[in-house]
């Protein structure tokens, strides 16, 4: 089985979010970038398929050279090879077109992406890859088993979960549950050394127009100070929630 794991290179959650160039660009100054958390769960599940079922695992990112350390980290965790499609990731649809092209060209059986990235939160890339490659698609995937050509997946739904059966080729939008946090791996010295020898292929992008354009960013208005209510005066809290906030 050939697995392609999509890796989005995102600012760590604790990063300060600021913008430059008249609020049109994300300010990467002092920001630490990490593997998107949903992709880390997916990559770890892919390692399980590699170790237990002999799958071959390639990681891929669409982005500039600055994302390579993130791909190297994925190699150090155990992926066999990495691909970077050399074009800035500015729009979910055009990123999906790049990824779909590689997925099809490379004959991958399973594409693992994340439910959403924590930067633009588009939640669109995995479904679009599936649509573009005509593969089956399971979103919000919290469990995945593969036997030959058949796949069983569990999907989180609003208020519960459902079990699905399908077949390869398959794309999933994965999240926590694919593996647990305690299963995540920190690259060790040996992994880091080996990662240096592993192939990181840089591909030219295929032609694609952007469907959407980011025009400007805004930060939420500074929030007023919290209104404190004394613990022995809860009538006031009820009244504030009813009369002022109008939420009860």
């Amino acid at each position: 089985m050939k697995i392609l794991v999509c890796i989005s290179h995102v600012p760590d959650t604790t990063s300060k979010i600021n913008f430059t160039e008249g609020d049109t660009k994300f300010d990467t100054n002092g920001v630490q970038f990490v593997i998107n958390p949903n992709d880390e769960f997916g990559l770890t599940r892919a390692m399980w398929f590699k170790e237990k079922q002999g799958a071959q695992v390639t990681v891929i990112n669409v982005g500039g050279p600055e994302t390579e350390p993130t791909l190297r980290k994925a190699l150090a965790i155990g992926a066999d090879g990495a691909i970077r499609v050399n074009t800035p990731a500015t729009d979910g649809f055009s990123v999906a077109k790049q990824l779909a092209h590689v997925a099809k060209d490379g004959g991958y059986d399973l594409v693992i992406a994340g439910r959403e990235s924590i930067d633009y939160n588009g939640g669109m890339v995995p479904g679009m890859i599936a649509g573009l490659t005509n593969a089956n698609f399971v979103n919000n995937c919290i469990n995945l088993e593969i036997e030959g050509n058949a796949a069983t997946a569990i999907r989180e739904i609003d208020g519960g979960k459902e079990t699905l059966s399908t077949s390869l080729p398959l794309v999933i939008g994965g999240q926590k549950g694919l593996v647990e946090e305690s299963d995540l791996r920190i690259p060790n010295m040996r992994g880091i050394m080996m990662a240096r020898q592993k192939p990181l292929t840089v591909l030219d992008p295929v032609d694609s127009a952007n469907e959407t354009a980011s025009v400007k960013f805004e930060k939420p208005a500074a929030k007023g100070a919290v209104k404190l209510v004394a613990p022995d005066n809860l009538d006031e809290l009820v009244s504030l929630l009813h009369n002022e906030a109008k939420v009860i």
Binding site: M124, E162, Q175, E181, E218, K219, L228, V238, I248
Partner: protein, 319 residues
């Protein structure tokens, strides 16, 4: 040329988000000077949509679509869009709509903006405001394709009632063989889900143990709220994983979020910041949640929550 909106139902009944996206579609249609067509799949009581600005309903009844299937539903919506020559399609941010929207976008070769919180600020170019960076910022996004899909964030636009009526028409899209099959569904039927809830009551590690959740559930039931929890609480097995909210858990966009014994770590706030009004109850006045909250009580949950339940019961009785 009308605006098409997918109005979701569950076992035939419209979900609240159906009325919210219909209200949003009406606002967009007014801006464009056109009408609203809704597509419903195996829904009953279709006339309810007329109260939220829908002019016409394409009513699909198809046993193949009894259980939600992203590909099948996307095919139905795509054919409705083609039939109506719709250039703007509105969907919600439910798990199901977020599942089908990217497939629909590919089918219609449409640009898609998700997590949109306001009516378009301009229709030429078509520009919408959406949340980004896990609610730490907003992004103004222009959709440049001929056909556009807007995913509206839950509880962001609200319900706008209109006095009107919708005409209904049966619609029979052709659905291909569906290669992703639902084998079983496991869903608590009598509970408010976090995604649908207007109010969410959430407990953290400050509650000390699962045996203390009775008061959280009672508070939720008085308010008609869903219950949620912080990550360590579900990691410790005190509450099911499905209740875990935050960056790595479920997102919350309720009108009211009540955090009890939760410190307010950045990863927790990332998932709940889209909620409109936040209340914190915590013994520690230095807990970071007080910086994010609108209302706060510095106090012991074990005395504050039971009293709050009594006060709310009295308030509800008066209403």
């Amino acid at each position: 040329m009308s605006v098409l909106v997918y109005t979701e139902s569950d076992q035939g009944k419209f979900k609240k988000v159906a009325f919210e996206v219909a209200s949003y579609a009406k606002a967009v249609a007014d801006q464009l000077g056109t009408t609203v067509t809704a597509i419903t799949i195996n829904a009953t009581n279709i006339s309810e949509l007329g109260n939220y600005g829908v002019d016409k309903v394409l009513n699909v009844s198809n046993p193949q679509l009894d259980v939600f299937n992203a590909k099948g539903y996307a095919e139905a919506i795509q054919q409705a869009a083609e039939k109506e020559a719709a250039k703007v399609i509105i969907v919600s941010s439910s798990a199901n709509s977020k599942y089908l929207a990217p497939l629909l976008a590919v089918g219609l070769n449409a640009g898609y903006a998700s997590n949109v919180i306001e009516a378009p600020s301009s229709t030429e170019p078509f520009t919408v405001k959406r949340t980004a960076f896990t609610n730490k910022a907003f992004e103004m996004t222009a959709i440049n394709t001929d056909t556009k899909i807007v995913g509206v964030s839950n509880n962001s636009f609200g319900l706008v009632e209109k006095s009107g009526s919708a005409s209904a028409e049966d619609f029979s899209p052709s659905i291909s063989d569906l290669a992703v099959k639902v084998e079983s569904v496991d869903k608590a039927s009598n509970q408010v889900s976090i995604a649908d809830a207007e109010i969410v009551v959430s407990g953290g590690r400050g509650l000390k143990g699962p045996e203390n959740w009775g008061m959280i559930e009672e508070l939720a039931s008085v308010l008609g709220a869903a219950t949620a929890c912080s990550k360590p609480v579900s990691d410790l097995g005190w509450r099911p994983h499905s209740e875990h909210v935050g960056q790595t858990g479920k997102p919350v966009a309720s009108n009211l979020y009540i955090a009890i014994g939760i410190s307010g770590a950045i990863q927790h706030l990332a998932g709940i910041n889209a909620s409109k009004v936040k209340v914190v109850i915590n013994t520690d006045p230095e807990a970071p949640f007080f910086k994010a909250a609108d209302y706060g009580v510095v106090g012991d949950a074990f005395t504050v929550v039971p009293q709050l339940i009594e006060k709310l019961k009295a308030f509800k009785a008066q209403q």
